[in-house]
Point group: C2
Chain length 395, copies 2
């Protein structure tokens, strides 16, 4: 992968509760923003294949979606388009498939686009879908046991408190940092600050997690155009190169897990991506990590090797993960501020990584040293699916 694939354009829409926009409206808007972002210009006909990340279609009753949905909406029926779904990492895996497509040698320029309507359903059903967290109702009983996202992460949080002495204040500090960053990101669903007190005083969702420890339910769409690295300069003066891309899998059942202070899917996705990239966690300047819940961000930081187990909360308190810290985590505001429109989430994170690496992030720009950023998702039944993509200014 290294040196083979580059990102030449990224685009998204402002995430939010978008009752006034259809899935199709959102797809078109993200696509047009993505095309416009290619600074030397691109003829849409140069895009030779596409992948559509979309999770909720079948699950919350919006009907099955195929590649034809995306093809119709971008007005290009002359290319192969495939829909894929991999639970909460759908967006990150959609980006990976675009990279595989280019690396295969079959397509020089391709599109990855994710879009999700999470709010157009009765809230009970919508919450259930979110609660199910990509779980299925077949062999995996987690959904039937009420083991949705908040419940599973609350169990992790309790164990983090028990094993490491983490506190609810530590978790709340993730929300404080990410919402502050989110006030500077024009695409974030929520653009307000929160205090530790506000988080702790917000309603309890599943002890020890409060409402403000959870990311919101959100509609959104995001896209990226990737191409052969050796032709990227035709399209942009600032191509961003893909160093590593991977998906990690773990058990679909909580009872098979050995630990609740580690999520093996993330560990595996990270290790594979770092190996492919030929770098170490220490080489990464900043990262967009899947903070669906505040405690999850601390798990992710440790699982990816940015902190030793039990040390992330202390480093957070010291400000190391702040926007101007030694390794900013979620400079965009993360899922906490953006929400989590599943198929779109990972591609929105890719947009942030690319924007930061191009030093075009304005008020939320982080300092770059090696010019390397990382994107991460985790989710699915028992949080058994993860995606990691590593991007760089140099190939």
């Amino acid at each position: 992968m290294k040196g083979k694939v580059a990102v030449i354009g990224v685009g998204m829409i402002k995430f939010g509760e978008l009752f006034e926009k259809s899935l199709e409206n959102m797809i078109q808007e993200a696509y047009l923003n993505c095309l416009k972002s290619v600074d030397k210009g691109i003829d849409p006909k140069e895009i030779k294949a596409a992948w559509f990340g979309q999770w909720s279609g079948g699950y919350i009753g919006q009907g099955s979606q195929s590649g034809a949905t995306l093809a119709s909406m971008i007005g290009n029926l002359d290319i192969p388009v495939t829909r894929l779904e991999n639970a909460c990492p759908t967006g990150g895996d959609t980006f990976r498939h675009a990279c595989l497509g280019v690396a295969s040698g079959l397509y020089d320029v391709v599109l990855a686009l994710g879009a999700e309507k999470m709010r157009d359903k009765p809230s009970a059903e919508s919450m259930m879908a979110a609660g199910g967290g990509g779980a299925d109702t077949g062999w995996h009983p987690s959904w039937m046991l009420g083991q949705g996202g908040p419940v599973i992460q609350a169990m992790h949080a309790v164990r983090q408190m028990h094993d490491f002495g983490y506190t609810m204040e530590d978790f709340a500090r993730v929300a404080v940092k990410n919402h502050l960053n989110g006030t500077l990101c024009p695409f974030a669903h929520f653009q307000f600050k929160v205090s530790i007190e506000q988080v702790l005083n917000s309603p309890s969702i599943c002890w020890p997690l409060h409402l403000l420890d959870c990311c919101p339910q959100t509609d959104g769409a995001a896209a990226a155009i990737v191409c052969r690295a050796d032709i990227a300069k035709r399209y942009t003066d600032k191509p961003i190169f893909v160093l590593g891309t991977n998906v990690g899998i773990d058990h679909s059942q909580l009872w098979d897990r050995n630990s609740f202070v580690e999520q093996p899917a993330t560990v595996k996705a990270g290790k594979g991506a770092f190996k492919m990239a030929g770098i170490k966690p220490a080489d990464v300047d900043f990262a967009e990590l899947h903070d669906c819940f505040t405690n999850t961000e601390l798990l992710n930081i440790e699982d990816l090797g940015f902190a030793r187990k039990g040390e992330a909360a202390g480093m957070l308190k010291e400000g190391q993960f702040d926007r101007n810290g030694s390794r900013p985590i979620n400079p965009s505001g993360g899922l906490k501020a953006h929400g989590h429109p599943i198929g779109a989430t990972g591609l929105g994170q890719i947009l942030e990584v690319v924007t930061q690496l191009r030093e075009e992030a304005g008020g939320r720009q982080v300092k770059l040293k090696n010019g390397i950023g990382l994107q991460h998702n985790i989710g699915g039944p028992a949080f058994g699916v993860s995606a990691v993509n590593i991007l760089s200014r140099t190939s």
Copy 2:
């Protein structure tokens, strides 16, 4: 693609109304059959990535499926696994993704597996899902207009009758041929012969299509292992090479179609695959074509260039598409005899193509000249998605 990727193993289960088997049972059985088919043996750990073709999960209420479902069932949590869905061509596109994965250079040996439970739901819902034919309920109103598979294909059949003088007997002849072939295939759901009279006397589903013009609703699973062509001989003395793989897309709305005697998705998928393979339709010895309805097989034969428009029915009557004809079509018995467990269908066809090219098809073996076979799917909203894979004994 040409010369890069080879099939080293294929496996499936007997398709049918499998109330006694879960989705997971079917996955495991197809996977084990696939492993066993690798004649020089393979350590399952050599498989480095997998793709899971599964359509109905979300759509008919079985919950969302991610890559973790397949990973759990094959007992391998150490590789990236992605679920994909592309309407009725899900199986063919799953195979394509396995090929892309190998061609990308990231994975030497990978698995494509498709599985579908179509019968475990109340029949009204199941029929609706089948009727919807992969249509969604958002922007595409075909499902809401009652434009399911039989309805859409009946409109094509009427136009084939009007433009070409095709008759209900011509359509019935497809059923006669394919059911005869199916009696020789151990994996077929239905293993009985039918006569033209039986087809014409079976209940009308949507004029001019009768019950026996339609493929059955069926449960099933099928798989293939593909690897780098240059290492294929480690695993088998009879590798089968992938010459071309493509997906074609067309409008998602019937009102955008210019013709009802052509399905542009198939035309596009075929043209791209033939170009990639560097061959012409005339070079193909035999093909497994998506005969979800009898008239559809005639459309497919013409759309892929095996007959000129309006000539397929006559060539069929002459026996050219029979198992011992000049270009056998659906020697396995096709969807007519196998049924159509969506994610599995395309991979079941791949198994037939590989088995025939290895000359291991026993009583249903076709004569080979160039040693090239083709697999084809069509479906989705307004039949706007198609997949074509071209396989060969030589690279």
